[in-house]
């Protein structure tokens, strides 16, 4: 069967150049970058090159890039690392209700351990008001952590404004940039973030590798103790193949930004215009807010999201949903709840997330098959009355 992948906020396929770059590392350039012999130094220079490539993508210095195992570890290192290193100053953290679970659950864990957390609300469009951040800052605030772009609805937060507030208050500022990096331009200097998380597999790199940008001069308690790799910020022999591939993916993402952002936006708009024209009673979340160019979160009245996802999958189309029925916890999406949607509304949510390898023809196929799927599920609903 023909397969169409529109779930790129979950993960992306590696670009062929990226996977090709990994192969020589497995048996040829297999050295340990900590070794002083030729094999080790060969590996070290490959890691250094990748560090430059990743740094360039977000306008950081190479020395400010700490390679880790992925977005989750980057978020944990940033939040726990600052919380632990700053606890003499205070134990108050500011975050939002729509963060990724890697931030949400880390902050909840710190809350259990005695830190105080302010959970900022968002507007119905999913946006944080920077003034709310300003008002939440206290003398004992040690960290503000607000995601750059939301993985479910795609809203882009006013990070630059929040960064200015954090700088003025002299509070460390972390942003989870896992979804924004590679999809929109990111400049950590302009954003005034001290810490910024990125993940390779969301930008056509491999799984199991990511990075935390740590601004020069930031004190951070490491999560792992060991050989003091990554300038004492992250011990453990480097995932050289993953890091090299991440570097290539970052370079290609940077080169593609100018054209791919617009391309994805055109496809996304084509999808939304097509679906709105052909399916009555659907609503696009956060469509008035600044949004990632690749993300579309749609609520379908009188149909349930898991059933829509399975039906689309049976037609070869991969998407996701924030419905309680598809989550292990059986709770509706915390993001949709935070923007004021009822569990009933979240029940019918669908997330499409594109990448630059998708085509207009793929989008047209979805626009062609989804109306029939929705109609079939609505016919089965005890509440649906055909107009």
């Amino acid at each position: 069967m023909r397969r169409i992948y529109l779930d790129s906020n979950a993960t992306t396929p590696m670009r062929p150049e990226v996977s090709a770059a990994m192969i020589p590392i497995f048996s040829g350039d297999f050295g340990n970058p900590s070794s002083i012999h030729w094999f080790g130094q060969q590996a070290k220079s490959l890691v250094d090159e990748a560090r430059q490539q990743v740094a360039r993508l977000i306008h950081a210095e190479p020395s400010e890039i700490v390679f880790v195992s992925g977005g989750t570890e980057a978020d944990n290192l940033a939040i726990r690392g600052i919380a632990e290193s700053q606890k003499a100053k205070g134990r108050h953290i500011i975050t939002s209700r729509i963060e990724h679970h890697a931030v949400l659950h880390t902050c909840k864990d710190l809350e259990k351990q005695g830190w105080e957390v302010t959970w900022l609300n968002v507007s119905p469009d999913g946006l944080i008001d920077p003034e709310d951040v300003r008002r939440a800052v206290r003398p004992d605030t040690v960290l503000i952590t607000i995601m750059h772009a939301n993985n479910e609805i795609g809203t882009i937060q006013p990070i630059e404004e929040i960064g200015a507030i954090a700088a003025e208050a002299d509070v460390y500022f972390h942003s989870d940039g896992v979804q924004s990096t590679g999809k929109i331009p990111v400049d950590v200097k302009k954003l005034q973030v001290d810490l910024y998380s990125i993940s390779a597999h969301k930008i056509h790199g491999p799984k199991g590798v990511g990075a935390l940008f740590v601004r020069k001069g930031t004190t951070l308690k490491p999560l792992l103790t060991g050989g003091g790799h990554e300038r004492n910020r992250r011990s453990g022999t480097e995932n050289v193949a993953g890091i090299v591939a991440f570097g290539i993916a970052a370079q290609m993402a940077r080169e593609g930004l100018a054209t791919e952002t617009d391309y994805m936006r055109q496809l996304r708009d084509r999808l939304e215009i097509g679906l709105k024209a052909r399916i009555p009673s659907i609503h696009i979340n956060a469509d008035k807010a600044p949004r990632l160019p690749n993300t579309s979160n749609i609520m379908v009245d009188f149909a349930e999201g898991e059933g829509l996802v399975i039906s689309l999958d049976l037609k070869g189309v991969a998407v996701s949903t924030g419905s309680a029925c598809s989550s292990g916890s059986l709770e509706p999406s915390h993001v949709l709840t935070a923007i004021g949607k009822t569990p009933d509304e979240a029940h019918g949510s669908l997330r499409f997330s594109l990448n630059a390898m998708n085509t207009a023809e793929e989008v047209d196929y979805v626009v062609e098959v989804l109306p029939g799927i929705v109609e079939r599920l609505r016919e089965l609903s005890p509440y649906y009355k055909r107009a």
Binding site: L330, S381, Y384
Partner: protein, 119 residues
């Protein structure tokens, strides 16, 4: 795909979907866990279910188990129908992933609720 081909068949081609104009027992139940909703129409005569139809707004497992249970009870006497458990329904469809086991409770609840309505 976390489901059996039999379950997917009942999801894609549900049997006994729709409403029953001459039903004499009707119930609508909601799943408190996830919010799925099922409405069941029964026609009961001489202590036996002689026809049944359903409508469900819910996930694929909820729709498939609704359909299978509705089809299954046609022809049963009322005590047989009341005795149907969610495990029976889930097993008949090739089992459900642990996180979806609650879906099959919708159908067994609806049957019992409709039969209470008939009394």
């Amino acid at each position: 795909m976390p489901y059996s081909s039999k379950l997917l068949d009942y999801f894609e081609n549900p049997r006994c979907a729709g409403e029953l104009a001459d039903a004499n027992a009707i119930a609508e139940v909601a799943n408190p866990v996830c919010g799925d909703v099922m409405k069941l129409w029964l026609k009961v005569a001489a202590n036996r279910i002689i026809d049944a139809r359903f409508k469900t707004q819910g996930c694929s497992a909820a729709i498939a188990t609704s359909s299978y249970a509705t089809e299954m009870i046609i022809g049963m006497d009322l005590n047989q129908a009341r005795a149907i458990t969610r495990e029976q329904i889930a097993e008949a469809l090739g089992g459900l992933p642990q996180s979806k086991m609650h879906c099959s409770v919708l159908a067994s609840d609806a049957i019992r609720a409709a039969l209470r309505d008939f009394k």
